[in-house]
């Protein structure tokens, strides 16, 4: 379990005493990670900032419910993820997959679906990033959320399920369907690459 820093504990103690400036340290510590995570889900930088800004205000309102023996980050980031998925549902905006998938893109996509096979073959390029970006855009908000929580925010399963008001099975199902959806989207390349990976094992 991550241990809250002294600075964070002090900031939360100040907040709980009604000193709103205690929030400053928390905002500065978590804002970039939070906005980045929100952006990867809602795909709109301005909306991401709005979501995180609201989430900080929400955190102030709910700070009395926060267990200060635990780190603030996961608690706060989960609320950002929740707000982000809600925002996407409200927008109902999905960015279509476009362009033809090249071989390197398919490798990146394969790894995204199942990180095990042959990481050494992935070459991280602008093109592969664009491919991942487009593929993520075809997922539902909930599917994106679990991938971002797991692979970007590095949350454990326990951290992901906490406070989400969703049972563990639902979270697993979301991750599974997210991967399946990616697999389906990238089927053309997935098949050959995955088979090749299996053959090499």
């Amino acid at each position: 379990m991550k241990i809250p820093s002294l600075e964070e504990k002090l900031a939360i103690a100040r907040l709980k005493q009604g000193d709103l400036d205690g929030m400053e340290a928390l905002v500065k510590r978590h804002q970039v990670r939070a906005v980045s995570a929100a952006y990867l889900i809602v795909r709109d930088p301005k909306l991401s900032e709005d979501i995180v800004q609201e989430a900080f205000l929400h955190a102030v309102e709910k700070i009395d419910q926060f267990d200060e023996s635990r780190p603030f980050g996961p608690w706060f980031l989960r609320s950002v993820i929740n707000a982000s998925t809600k925002a996407v549902r409200k927008q109902k905006r999905f960015i279509p997959l476009d362009g033809t998938l090249d071989e390197e893109t398919s490798k990146v996509a394969t790894w995204l679906i199942d990180p095990d096979p042959h990481p050494e073959k992935i070459i991280e390029t602008q093109e592969t990033r664009q491919m991942v970006w487009n593929a993520l855009g075809e997922l539902t908000a909930e599917q994106r959320a679990v991938i971002i929580m797991r692979h970007f925010l590095e949350m454990s399963e326990a951290e992901m399920t906490e406070d989400l008001d969703r049972p563990l099975t639902t979270i697993r199902w979301r991750l599974k369907t997210a991967r399946n959806q990616l697999r389906k989207l990238l089927h053309f390349f997935w098949k050959s690459e995955y088979q090749e990976a299996q053959d090499e094992r």
């Binding site: 400036d21 500065k28 804002q31 980045s36 990867l40 990180p115 990033r129 563990l168």
Partner: protein, 459 residues
């Protein structure tokens, strides 16, 4: 391994790296600074969104303390040392003094000593403060300084020098803080001084409400006279009533004794004292004493720019990150806030003050700036205030005790709050545009309903 602790999919450093890159391409850490916006939003929620009582608590907590206590006077009395002058006569004369036309020129100066112990702690744990207030009656200039009597330190500052507003950071103004108080200097229009707190001449006392209550109460008794250390002699009017205190963060209402003081010569209201019985002993909960109430000649030398204060740090805030709600004209409101409602005409005998937050967020719902407050107030102190509450519809209205819908489709959810000032009338209003607004008034519900019918979207 517990099921919940099992890994869910493998974390992969490359995937993480790609996601990091994708985020960093757009979200630049050096350009991401949400704190000013969050802070301003927190400030907005304190100044414009919350109830008037909460709003006062932030900026006028000490002055409001005694006011709230006094405003809840009820009718049980203790007869004691009745003199030849009756309580009713004192009240009638005092009322005439309090309501006579105030000076319109010069500089009003009021210094008030206030003690607060709302949590009913041992008396020495309460806070004695002195509020020193200057108001130029012909311009917008004012300054109000609050000093902790025990330490002599400035703990709160609020002012306007004609072009800059001065506002201390209340979160850093705690009496126990060792650091100099930070005061932000922001170029802006005159900030709103909030109804009934700076404009009157009684250290924050709402005299109309107080006198209405006391004069309509046949059992008000004169407890006697007192001579104070400064030589003033005062009449003491006394009542016994429930007093709201916070004990262990829980509101309680033990019976208390309320003394109200009137100068025997001028009949001016000069103070009050509230006590309760706790553990068999009298415990002081709050007191307020007007030390100075004078009008200085026009042009008197006052340091409106606060340059005379020694233990504060004045910080320039040219971008208005700490700007206070500022007063604007009703006409300007239409250009600043596209979703503002005002009464079609200002009611006879009332004046209108409109205030907005200079630095607003335009993107909460994509509908542009939102926060404003419009206060209609008459000479007697009655008011009708509408302020933006949220740019979203109400989710829960189960708390409403009456729902009133106007011909134009505005829906007001009245809330009954007997624990507050009994004269409070108001609730939350939902407009057809999906926004909600808070209504706060001293007027009866029937009048508020009539005024609601006059609300129009400003254009």
């Amino acid at each position: 391994m517990k099921d919940k602790d099992k890994p869910m999919g493998n974390k992969n450093p490359t995937i993480q790296s790609i996601l990091e890159h994708l985020a960093k391409e757009t979200i630049l850490s050096e350009k991401t600074d949400l704190w000013p916006a969050v802070r301003a939003d927190l400030a907005a929620s304190k100044t414009l969104l919350q109830s008037k009582e909460l709003s006062m608590n932030k900026r006028f907590v000490f002055g409001a303390l005694a006011t709230v206590l006094i405003l809840s006077i009820v009718v049980v009395f203790v007869a004691n040392n009745v003199t030849t002058v009756s309580a009713k006569e004192i009240l009638d004369r005092a009322y005439q003094v309090q309501t006579q036309a105030a000076a319109s020129q010069g500089i009003e100066h009021i210094r008030t000593e206030i003690y607060g112990n709302l949590e009913a702690q041992p008396e020495e744990q309460g806070l004695y403060t002195t509020t020193d207030k200057y108001l130029d009656l012909q311009s917008d200039k004012f300054r109000r300084i609050i000093i902790d009597n025990q330490t002599g330190r400035v703990i709160d500052v609020f002012g306007y020098d004609g072009s800059n507003a001065y506002s201390s950071d209340s979160t850093k103004g705690a009496p126990q803080s060792a650091a100099p108080l930070t005061v932000y200097r922001t170029p802006q229009n005159p900030p709103t001084t909030e109804i009934g707190t700076l404009g009157n001449g009684n250290g924050g006392l709402n005299t109309k409400t107080l006198f209405d209550k006391m004069r309509s109460d046949p059992q008000v008794q004169l407890a006697g006279q007192e001579t104070w250390e400064d030589g003033r002699t005062v009449y003491v009017l006394r009542s016994e009533q429930p007093v709201r205190v916070l004990i262990a963060n829980e509101a309680q209402s033990p019976n208390g004794i309320i003394d109200v003081y009137f100068d025997v010569d001028s009949y001016e209201l000069v103070g009050n004292r509230v006590t309760i019985q706790k553990d068999g002993k009298e415990l002081l909960i709050g007191s307020q004493r007007v030390l100075v109430d004078e009008t200085l000649p026009e042009g008197s030398s006052i340091a409106w720019d606060l340059s005379d204060l020694q233990d504060v740090t004045i910080v320039a805030d040219p971008n208005g990150q700490h700007a206070l709600p500022e007063v604007i004209s009703a006409e300007a409101l239409a250009t600043r806030i596209p979703s503002a409602y005002l009464l079609r005409t200002v009611p006879d005998g009332f004046s209108l003050e409109v205030s907005v937050l200079p630095k607003q967020f335009t993107n909460r719902s994509g509908n542009g700036p939102f926060f404003y407050e419009a206060g209609y107030i008459d000479q007697a102190g009655d008011y009708f205030v509408i302020r933006a509450f949220d740019d979203k519809p109400l989710k829960d209205t189960s708390w409403a005790d009456e729902i009133y819908t106007t011909a134009s489709g505005l829906v007001l959810y009245f809330v009954n709050q007997p624990s507050l000032d009994p004269k409070f009338t108001g609730g939350l209003m939902q407009a057809p545009n999906g926004h909600t607004y808070a209504i706060d008034s001293t007027l009866p519900r029937e009048t508020v309903r009539e005024l609601m019918e006059q609300l129009v979207l400003v254009k």
